[in-house]
Amino acid sequence: MSSGKFATVMFWLVVMAGFLVLATLPVSMQAQLVTGVFVVVIMIVIKELKAEGPWRQLALALGLTVVGRYVYWRTTQTLPPTNQLQNFIPGVLLYGAEMYNVLMLLLSLFVVASPLKPREAPKPTRWPSVDIFVPTYNEDAGLLANTLAAAKALDYPGDRLNVWLLDDGGTDQKCQSADLLVSRTAIARRAELSALCQELGVHYLARPRNEHAKAGNLNYGLEHSSGELIAVFDADHAPAREFLRETTGYFEQDDKLFLVQTPHFFINPDPLERNLRTFDFMPSENEMFYGIIQRGLDKWNAAFFCGSAAVLRRAALATTHGFKGSSITEDCETALALHAAGGTSVYVDKPLIAGLQPATFASFIGQRSRWAQGMMQILMFHFPPLKRGLTLAQRLCYMSSTLFWLFPLSRMIFLLAPLCYLFLGLEIFSASGTEFLAYIMTYMMANLMLQNYLYGSFRWPWISELYEYAQSPHLLPAIVSVWFNPRKPTFRVTAKDEAIDSSRLSEIGTPFFVIFALLVGGVIATVWRLYTEPYNADVAVVVGGWNLLNLVLAGCALGVVSERADRQASRRVAVNRRCEFRLGDIWYEASLANVSTMGAGLHVFHQGAFEAPAGSTGEIRFRVHDGADDISVPVAVRRCHAQGNNLFIVGCEYKPTEPQHRRAIADLIFANSELWTSFQASRRHNPGVVRGTIWFVSLALYQMLRGLGYQISRRGGEPSRPRPFGGKSP
């Protein structure tokens, strides 16, 4: 380390030591209250003035002061005495959950204190050969066709590009299975997909045996290909045309680069966003990770592989014998191994693929439970803090990424802690009313301010808590089962293109109603306690208030598990492209208002009468996004109505028959990634802590009533029948 760096570190350590001394000074409560209030006020002022740069660091440092003093007080003064075991054990559990949260906050502060700004991609001067892998398990041919067509349409020299469909649903093992149904399905799938690949000019690979799930599939592809770079796309992650242009240039600059990762962008809402109807104005949940956390990780050279939408270097993969397969999140595991081997990674903060979120809450939970279990496996098998070969910053980053998945534990503890007092009268946290004001209130406010400062425009207040709570009841058993049996978690499949035909309750929603009822019981217990023990009113008010906060979250979660009917299986993306629409034999001037993977909405201009009866066939012709050619795709009209001013709105569904039709559809949706960037930007504004909280509470109230309404009218019904598209592996 150079002397400059050494001096910086030393100076920082000295200041940190002084800071710790100040945080652990046993000053009186007056001093604590006054300091806490001052600090929060200054943080608010800095935020209101939208000061950036060093002021941001000052706000973070001030927030850290309050957190530090809270931790010191919590550790030294609030734990119940050890001789009261009925209080001590829950008290220690609650303390552990809080300290876990503080640890995650500190790690987050480290990771995202100054994330890298988006940068221009370096222009490549040579064109290395690229193999594109599209692994599939049970996804439908139509979905795969879109993705493969988009991959073929990538802006890259054609002779250097090979697209491979790696089919795990048509392996020899499956085709020769003793189960007749499995065997028949596999053989049919193999035939259908082979034909599709033939049409599109894509290589089809099916391996002999299903081993090590997706990692094994990719490794099989590695064995049978030879490109210098590997790009991986999930079956539903169709790339934009400029994908390779934006990513391959980095490999020239740095020999040790093994990964360029791009964000996962989704054109449809996840089940929570759909059921809560927030997709159009609130940033998606993954945007916090891809929009800011990966940028922070990138600063410390710890951006990791997320399984798709990435380019890897074959030579680097060779050093680890391909993709690692001992955990079910083989992507993060592979990146960890390659980082430990000294490789570097880059994160490109531009959405260059468009994918699909799981359609139902059950499949969403299935996906998350796989991620949680896989990260637990990585934590147990490869313990990042002690992994040889990682830098200190990388260790902290991987700690942050893996320990994050312990949130179900802390979330459930926070949920149940107030009930310990309200139902059982246990005193698991010794604090007086004055201490609550001086320590807990200031800590909560500083925490909210810190979170808002770090993630404000990417994650609205209380949404993190909602997502955590929505996942906790099912993820908790999943991660506990991994602890007891690390090598045998199940790799469940996420059905991605199910449609919810009618509004109904999710089949896994019962625990949420049970918890909600429990918390309502807590509210009743609060009122009862206030009435019968008025001298304990201050404790009852504080604990009851906490329970009420949990109740608000639980009420909102009731809305999350009440699946809303969404006639549109796929989302429409607004575009604005001139085109021509042929109905029968006549070509009309038109423009495309919005497109989706299934169809498009047109504005047709015609003076005079215009009739497009449902079911009539037609064609849309338009210019490709980046070129001068015209392409066209056949369509069938679904509906049509007049808008006035000689404009007619026509909704139609694609009816592709040939490969170039697929390319046309891909061009419509996937050619222009600017659309996606601007859509994301349109949602990224920070409502602030107060407005965000008010909005959240009103949302929770509405969703609670909706959820209770669904429960009362008993909309159980059958789980959604998969449409002909079937499902896909996550």
Partner: protein, 757 residues
Amino acid sequence: MKRLALLLPLLLVPSIALAETAPFDMSGERQSVTPEATAPARPVTIATPVETPPPSRHYILPTGETTLSGETDRRVWSLNLDAATAASATVLSLGYSNAVMVAPELSTLTVTVNDQQLASEAIQAVEKPATLRLTLPPGLLKSGPNRFAVTAKQRHRTDCTIASTYELWTRLDPATSFLEPANGGADNSLDAIRAVGVDANGVSRFTILAPALDQPAAVAPLLRLSQALSLAAAMPRQAVSFVKDTLPPAAPGQLALVVGTPAEVAALLPNLPASSADKPFIGLVPHGGAMVLAIVGPDWGAIASLVSGLLPASAQGDAASLATAAWQAPDAPLVTGDRQLSLAELGLRTEEFSGRQFHADVAFALPGDFYANAYGEMIVRLDAAFSPEVRAGSRFNIYVNGHIASSVPINAVGGSILKSLPVRVTMRHLRPGLNRLTFEADLATAADAACLPGATATAAPRFALFDTTSIDIPRFARAGQRPDLAALTAIGYPLATGDRPVALYLDHIGTDTLSAAGTLLGKLALKAGRPIDVQPTTALTGIAAGPAVLIAAADHLPPDVLVRFNIAADVASRWPSGAPTGATTPAATLNGWRDRLAADNGNPLMRAVAWVRSNFDLSSTGWHLAAGVPPAFLPDPSTSVLAAAGDNPAGDADWLLVTTPDGAHLVDGVETLTREANWQRLSGYVSAYAPAADRMDSASLPTRFVGVGTSGLANLRLIAANWLSSNLLAFVGLVLVFAVLLAATTTAMHNRFGRRD
């Protein structure tokens, strides 16, 4: 007594006969009916008042009139008796009177001597004072310290409320509380000093006859003698009087001494042994019908070494406790940090209680450099039990020096046993020297709420406080401060603990100034637990360097000395005759009214603000970064004596000043000031006592630290915590500074490590 009982019927007969012959003549009744007839079995006598107490009484109440109040109260003290008194005393007389509301059938007064209960009598002395005459079993009293305990259990006649328990009191009369016959006679000098006892008012007096007291060489040994006497006797109200010619007649509570060279004292003491002519002699000799302690030596140097022999052995080292046993047994342990004191150690036994409000006191002492008022907290680990009768709404309160410091709600249903329940008690009201911790339990029961007749007679115990309860005093910040009158007087810090000799300024050497000096130095030495090495001088120039004690009337003090103590320079002229300074009643202020209104029924916002202000004690004093100096102190004319702490001209030592308006009242003023009850109230940098109103006026100055640089890092941290807790803005500023530094260094780290933009 038996003979008297047999005579009773005979006495009755003439009274009946007289009644028949002269029905309206009540005079016969009065003559013949004696008080014994009303309560034949009780050994109670109405004591006939005597003008001069006969010398065969040894008074026992150390602090004069003593009041036992509330439903349960006790006094425990240790009285030194010499061998002859201990052997001869056969009767303990205890005179008392009590409040009207004390129910005699439910209230008892228990007297215990040396752990043996002598009597447990009903308390019934409403109309006129009563006297208990208790027989002392032979061998109960010993030579040396004897422990006396008087416990009152009082119940109200009619009311069951906690407020009504404040109407219960029993007053012990010092004039009628004594041991008799007390044919005193000590074996040796120390015993005689220790067994000086008290007079009918609770004062112990040493009268020293020293014909040569105005010789310069004699002053220091005489003052050292005063301190030795004070350390040995350790009584709460001791006074030293110097005389040049004659001794007063012998009386209880007095010890006379004769000090000088053989030439000076030969005339006074003809019975001195012959050997004293050339060898130093100390011992008891008869004089004028009583024994006096003679200290005779060839020169004053020899006398000084005799005096040194009188000093208790433990005075040489650091005291582990403050001597309080003479009025409050046991001695208060001195806590220097990180100590657990159990109630048993502090003299409190496990007690069960069946009334409404339970009280118990314990005491401990803190060193003079105690500096943890702003942040400190101690933990009381409570072992107690509550019966199922006790309802929710009851509270267990802990008071420190009379201020509420902690309150624990008792909410369990069906009784509870508290085992080591940690109760956090703020250290805000602790002070250097003696501190009193009061445990109080307010018990709310359904029976008391209903208050049926006889409800106060409940015998079933409702509450028990176990003596395994412990007080955990953590390590606290220790920083000497200047000026600090409380530290100087309550525990003699740092005058007595320093290694520099203390100068003593008297404006002239005479019996009055020497008496005042002897009394004052005796009190300081007793509080410090060791004698103070003084160098008397009458020249102010001699005391410029090092610590000093100044005792003089205000008109004999030059203005520059008064300025040093921030006392008005013209105090001599304005003190006795000036207009009242108006410091007696606090002026009505807008803030006071605002607080009162807000606390009662203000709107919610005002109530919330008032709650925050009261709970967080956010007064304006904590906000100043640099406080100004208060104006020079002018004592109120009703005050008769003043004590002040200040700096010496060099600024490196403490000065203590005790002054009165004029020289005539110097001795009285100092004796009043050194009474234990008044001495404990000295605080701030100057305090003036008004005897008529029993009021102590004090004023404070911002203090400076003394010698903290050498204490360890841990202590410095605690001192910083305390100082920052009292200077809130400084703490906020420090936090801001460190946040800025942290932000700057973190930015630098981010610019040097990891990828850069």
